[in-house]
Every structure is written in C-alpha cells, then in structure tokens.
Symmetry: C2
Subunit: 294 residues, 2 copies
C-alpha cells in the first residue's frame, strides 16, 4: 500500500441526517393519520452536566423531527423503587411511545432493575435484557442505538460482515456486547477483546472489521490496523479524540469513521427512527417498513 | 512436546455424579423442611425417538435424586397456542418448581414463543431470553445447562479463563452463544466461529480454550489444537464421536473432555442442581448456596 493511501471516511453526519429526515416525515404521517404525535419520554436522575447536555440534545432533535418530548427529572437521591415507579407509569401511559433512561443513573440506583421497568415495545433505546437477547438471536425488537447505528453505517458503505473477522474492543452492555451479537447475526466471525485481553495488538491485526468501544483516547494503535480493514471508532473522548490513533490508521484502513461525525450522529438518528416505529406500532399504523432503511 | 504426551481427561462423569448426589441431599433437605418435594415438569411435543429417550433419562435422574417428575406430552400436531397454554399453566402452578421444554418442538410450533412462556424463576434449563441476557450480563439467573456444565468443569480443573483466548465453534442459542458469554464474563477473550468463518484452522490454533459445539464428527482437526490448550468437546455424534479429532488432539492438548463422559453427563447434573435451587427459592428456603459449587 502506498504512503499516500488514505482511507475513505464513513460519513455518519450525512446518513444520520437522512435518517432523521425520514423519521420526521414518518412522524408527520403518523400524526396526520392517527391524530397523535409520536412521543419519547426521557428520564434523568440527578444533574450530571454531561447527562443534562445529552438529554437536552436528544429532546431538541425529537422536537425538530415532530416527536413530542416529555421529560422527567428525578433528584440524585431518588431510590430504585421511585425510579422504577416512574418508569412503570410511563410504560403504562398510552400517550408515551418510547422511553429513554439516561445512563448513568448514579450510585443509589440499581440501573438494571430500572431498565427492566421499560416495556419491551417502548424500549427504543434497546437497553432491556429482552432487547439484548432479541439482538443476539436475530429476533424482532429494538436495537441498542449505537450498535444499530454502526450496523446501518456498514450497510450504507456496502460492507457485508459475512465471513469477515470482526474484532470488538470493549464489552459494555449497550455497546460492545450488542454490536458483537449483531455482527455475529450477520455471519461475521466475532472476537470480543477487553481490559483482560492479552496480546491485543495481534488480535486487532486480524480484524477485517474493527469496532473500538473502550473510551480511551487513541487506545488502538494505527500500526495494528490490518491493511484494507473497516475501522469503526465508537470512542468519543475529550477533545474530539476517538479510541483509534486515526492518523496512522487512515494510512492502512479502507474505510474509517471520523470522530466526530462518524458513529456519534448515528446514535440519535437510530433513537428517532425507533421512536417513530414504536409509535406507528402502538397506534396501529405499523407497516413493517423501517425508516432506518429508507 | 514429546511424542508420548497425552492430555489429561476432564472427567465429567465423576463430577456430574458428585453434583447429582449433592442435589439429592439438598432435595431431601427441602422435602423435610417444607413438606414439599422439588418438582420438575418436562414437556415433550411429538414422539421423536431421541427426544423421548432424553426426556426419559432426565425424568429417571430426577426421580433418583428425590425430585418429583411430572410429564406432559403433546401430540406432534399441537399448535403454538396450545403449547404456550400448557407451559403457562405450569408456570403458574405452585407445585411445579422447574420447567423443561424438550428441544426440538417440531415444525408447527414457534419454539421461541413457547420458551418465553416459561416463568424466569422456573427456567431451570436456561432457555429464555431473560436467562440468556442474565448470563451475558453476569446477573443472577439460571444458566443454560450445557454451558453451565462446561464452566463447572473448567472450574473443577482449576482453569481460570481470565486473559485466555477462548474460541467457541458453533453459535446456537442454548450452547455456543451462552457459553461464549459465560467465558467473556470470566474475562476470557472470546471468538465465535461458525459455518461462515473463513480460515477456521488459523483461529482454532490460537485457542487457549476451545469449545467445539457444531455437531459434526471430528470436525476440529487435531493438528489445529494449540499445544497446551484446554479442549472442550461438546459434540455428541452417532457412534460416540465428538466434534474433535480426539486421537491427534490428545497429543497436543493439556486437558480434554472425553466423548462420552465429558460434557454430556454435566448437562443433566446442572439441570438437577438448578431444579433444587429453584424449589428452595420458591419454597422460601433459598440459602444463596448453590449445589453446583458444593
């Protein structure tokens, strides 16, 4: 490979924009046909500034797409029972079609118990155990938003994972684990690496598709990228720095997601798309057609 | 490694026997303390001869351990709704502590829907979506029996998966996928291989721990076994032949499960252990102590 090789960038901003537009027209259609606008409830515990910003951003994007945003803020001192009670009420409320519990919920709450209070048909953020199993078994259901966005990006760039070796670095419940299962469902050979992995470099060097999801700046060395690889950098560290040493990686990869503008924008786009799908389903307008794919 | 090297055999028969004995004493204790014997309901659809044999074997082992066995047979023509109705009734029956739906259920039934009718606290065979997610996230719950048996065997032979590269060949919902997640939970680096994997041999050769779960006789070539590896052969093909070419594999591996007498006996042992745990929990005698570990 010549010194001047530069990987093509996978443009998440543009794709996310198109998905958001499609979600907006579908939301308008739903509102017109049913008389009810799709509604996403956001739930935030405490006032962590990053979480406040994320929730604000998600709500603004909803409103721009014609999705009603309902917000519920609980004090940092809220108990698991209080949070579960609030989420259960939203799960039962026919006016709410999707529920997003902003992670993390703080030290006083059993986050898993709280997540499980989200009704499966409203789990548009793909965080429940049922959604994870559905992703793992190739069953219908909502996907975790970042993994779903990654799969959609691969599709957009005509990357068929079948028979490719996908290496996922990171194993969180909402990113590493589900994206590995989705890749496995698309017939990739999948390796999960993490903090206990020995010889990480030698495994990364085998990756036809690399997903970096560790949250450590430039953790993946560019020289470990296999020539011609597809590199998905799902890290987002302070200063707009990804988990991959992008300068070197770009000289070797075939396709790479920039940070910012790669995986990041896809997450909210998937959230919007799944919220309108949930609303359509609950309002009896389900068409089987996904705005993610339009 | 000298020509005369022979891997040590991992004796599943003996370990399974000890677990079954422990389950039997715990069953007796539960019966004495609560006046109610633990009860496993087995459900069989149709009369496939292998399935009939498996169910008969499981029932006999239950009875030997002092676990009441209740059997429900449905005709091969049963519908999903009929099967779900029957399983739901067992889920609600306070006299039944565990439910096993024998796989496969035949072509007329949506097996996933049927599995999901099993109440989580009675899912002693570890087949529900919730149990899979619990295994994946390291949460309390019942494990799939064969994966659970494999993990227990590794423990018995002092194999700590942390930092080791575990390669799982096969990705079924009740064997390959969950055993990979359990190994990941014990901090192994985990690779899933399957029918679409390219260059299988080169991946198998990296395996510190190899789990073969494909159901194809001698599918894993002995010369691909990494010297010193731990080889778990979960295959059981006609003629007592495993998925691994054992003759060559034994000259290279450190530990290997024989077929038969390795993984096979562990499956029922885990079923018995989880049934008495379920009964103890439901009868208010839960001690947090697992007979699997005793």
């Amino acid at each position: 490979m010549s010194q001047t090789h530069t990987a093509r960038l996978m443009d998440g901003t543009d794709l996310a924009h198109r998905i958001s537009e499609a979600s907006a027209s579908r939301a308008a259609e739903i509102t017109r046909e049913s008389g009810t606008a799709p509604c996403l409830a956001t739930v935030l515990v405490g006032d962590d500034s990053a979480s406040v910003t994320y929730v604000r951003m998600k709500r603004a994007r909803c409103e721009k797409a014609g999705i009603v945003s309902r917000h519920l803020g609980l004090p940092a001192t809220a108990t698991t029972a209080e949070l579960v009670g609030a989420i259960t009420a939203l799960s039962q409320d026919p006016e709410v079609h999707g529920i997003l519990l902003q992670h993390p919920v703080g030290p006083y709450i059993d986050e898993r118990v709280a997540f499980e209070a989200i009704a499966p048909d409203k789990d548009v953020d793909g965080v429940t155990m049922r959604s994870f199993a559905a992703m793992s078994f190739g069953l219908p259901g909502f996907v975790s938003c970042t993994p779903g966005g990654i799969m959609r990006l691969l599709e957009e760039y005509d990357v068929d994972p079948a028979g490719k070796h996908a290496v996922v670095v990171g194993r969180s419940a909402i990113l590493g684990k589900p994206v590995g299962m989705l890749l496995l469902g698309r017939n990739a050979t999948v390796t999960y690496c993490h903090s206990h992995t020995t010889g990480l470099g030698s495994i990364v060097r085998q990756a036809d598709i690399l997903v970096a999801a560790v949250g450590r700046p430039r953790f993946i060395r560019g020289e470990d990228i296999k020539p011609g690889a597809i590199v998905i950098d799902a890290g987002y560290n302070p200063g707009n720095i990804g988990d991959v040493d992008v300068e070197t990686a770009r000289t070797r990869a075939n396709l790479i997601t920039p940070v910012p503008g790669g995986v990041g924008p896809m997450t909210i786009a998937v959230l919007l798309a799944q919220t309108v799908e949930a609303a359509a389903e609950q309002l009896g307008l389900g068409s089987g057609r996904s705005v993610l794919r339009s």
